[in-house]
Amino acid sequence: MMDNLSLLVQAPVLNIQLLLDGLFIGAIFALAAYGLALVWGVMNVKNLAQGDFVIMGGYIAWFLSTWGIHPILGLPLAIVIMFGFGWVVYITIISRVIGKDLFTSLLATFGLALVIAQLLNLAFGPEVQAAESGFEINSFFDGMVTVANIKFISLILAGLLASMVITFMKFSRMGQAIRATAQDPRAAKVMGIDTERIYAFTFALNAAICGAAGALISMIWVIQPFFGIAHSIRSFVIVTAAGLGNLPGVIMAGLGLGVAEIYAGFVFGAELQQFTVVGLLVAILVWRQIQQRRHRQAVQ
């Protein structure tokens, strides 16, 4: 570990590589986290299957790429398919757990996560996969820093998608209806908004966002049926750190998490990279408690 650390100091250019890698992947983390925050804020459902939605989107893109459809074209398909999937999941499961206590929705989504992960495993096998995008790899600084073009494209796409969703939420009628329902469901109902449809749409939208994130991940990173829980935890860490309704915070936290993970992986070695995500989760929850103590409250 010390060798790796000293390497960072001796060759500062390495930092740029790590930083860039972290940002590219962090942008996707932020995207998925935004979806989680959406569902959380509107319906108070903490979706533990979030990461599995992401992986599922990744598999859609990857599967299509094995048929010759380029993953970037697979992206909109993943969005559409996941949107439908999210709607179905809402109607069959989520709608029944919305009113109940929060542990219920957590467990229900956990069960869902298990099912999805296993089905993916049965369908595609446990090997780690990545979707070939066939773009060039550029190198800078005498070859010390390499960046695959696809990563730039992924960053741009992530930003584009995020802007589209945000614009939609701000200016469209549906977006306004969603925000109204989030603030006061009863008032929304009284004003004639069909809250069930709003919830279904929101959940489906989240699934679509995850699908997009997954497609991007399949292009610039790897997917595997059981990686879902790690992505769920990542989204959770980001939303907890940033706080609901804090969009710039989500972006910063997402990017930060990406960078932290890449650095941790480099400095501590592969064994402990797994630990980074869960370790950060515990750290963030401890930090929130300390914050809340000053307000004499508990973290709820």
Partner: protein, 254 residues
């Protein structure tokens, strides 16, 4: 007359809204003090500040001479200062007797006490208090199954079980059938006189509070507007105007 609670220049803001603005008041021991004011005047916020539900921005709150403004809720409760809630809160999955038993005060509880049974005298006392509020026949029922009014009475009985020095009551008659309010007022008064519990009561029901309280504070827009005996408050122009103008005539209670 010693002051049980001394509130001095207490302010509390939530974001841009100043809920309490430099409020100073005293609640004397052994009496019933009222707290009135139109909706949004900061009454419940003041209660919350006193019992430690949230920190205050400035000022001092003393209970029996002890500064409590940075104590936490359980600590303040163990000093003998309790409150009831506007939306009545009880332990809804336990039966009434158990609700009462767990409400016994925990001031001198040691770790080993956690593993002992309740002595039968406590059960007797619980049943007596349930009888006092008229819930004796319901004592074995699950408290969540009681009606709203009955739950309010249970909450009151639970507070009495704790043998508090002082009880903050947040709208004790809200939601109670008007024909049954007299019984409640009677019990409140008896709690003050017979059981030695000082009461500080938020109320919107004017006849009730004018009947019950020995002195009254009136809040408006987060500030203390007026205080005095019921007669004085009733005739105070500022108080009348604060309740959205008009001529609010207080009916003579019979």
């Amino acid at each position: 007359m010693t002051a049980m609670i001394t509130v001095k220049d207490v302010s509390k803001a939530f974001g841009g809204v100043i809920a309490n603005n430099k409020i100073s008041l005293e609640v004397p021991e052994g009496r019933v003090t009222g707290l009135i004011g139109p909706n949004g005047s900061g009454k419940t916020t003041l209660f919350n500040s006193i019992v430690g539900y949230h920190p205050i921005d400035e000022g001092s709150i003393k209970f029996e001479g002890v500064e409590i403004s940075d104590f936490r809720v359980p600590k303040i409760a163990r000093l003998g200062l309790l409150r009831t809630f506007q939306q009545t809160r009880i332990y809804s999955k336990m039966n009434c007797v158990n609700n009462m038993l767990i409400s016994v005060n925990h001031r001198s509880e040691r770790f080993v006490d956690l593993f002992r049974d309740y002595p039968s005298e406590l059960t007797d006392k619980a049943e007596q208090l349930l009888d006092f509020v008229g819930l004796y026949s319901k004592r074995k029922l699950i408290s969540g199954d009681l009606s709203f009014g009955q739950q309010k009475l249970l909450e009151f009985a639970m507070a009495l079980m704790n043998e508090p020095r002082m009880l903050l009551l947040d709208e004790p008659t809200a939601g109670i059938n008007p024909t049954l309010i007299n019984g409640l007022i009677d019990r409140l008064r008896r709690a003050a006189t017979e059981m030695g519990v000082t009461l500080f009561v938020i109320e919107h029901n004017m006849p009730v509070i004018m009947n019950l309280a020995d002195n009254i504070y009136c809040l408006a827009n987060g500030r203390l507007l007026a205080h005095g005996t019921p007669e004085k408050i009733q005739n105070d122009e500022r108080v009348i105007n604060a309740y959205l103008g008009g001529h609010y005539l207080v009916e003579e209670e019979d």
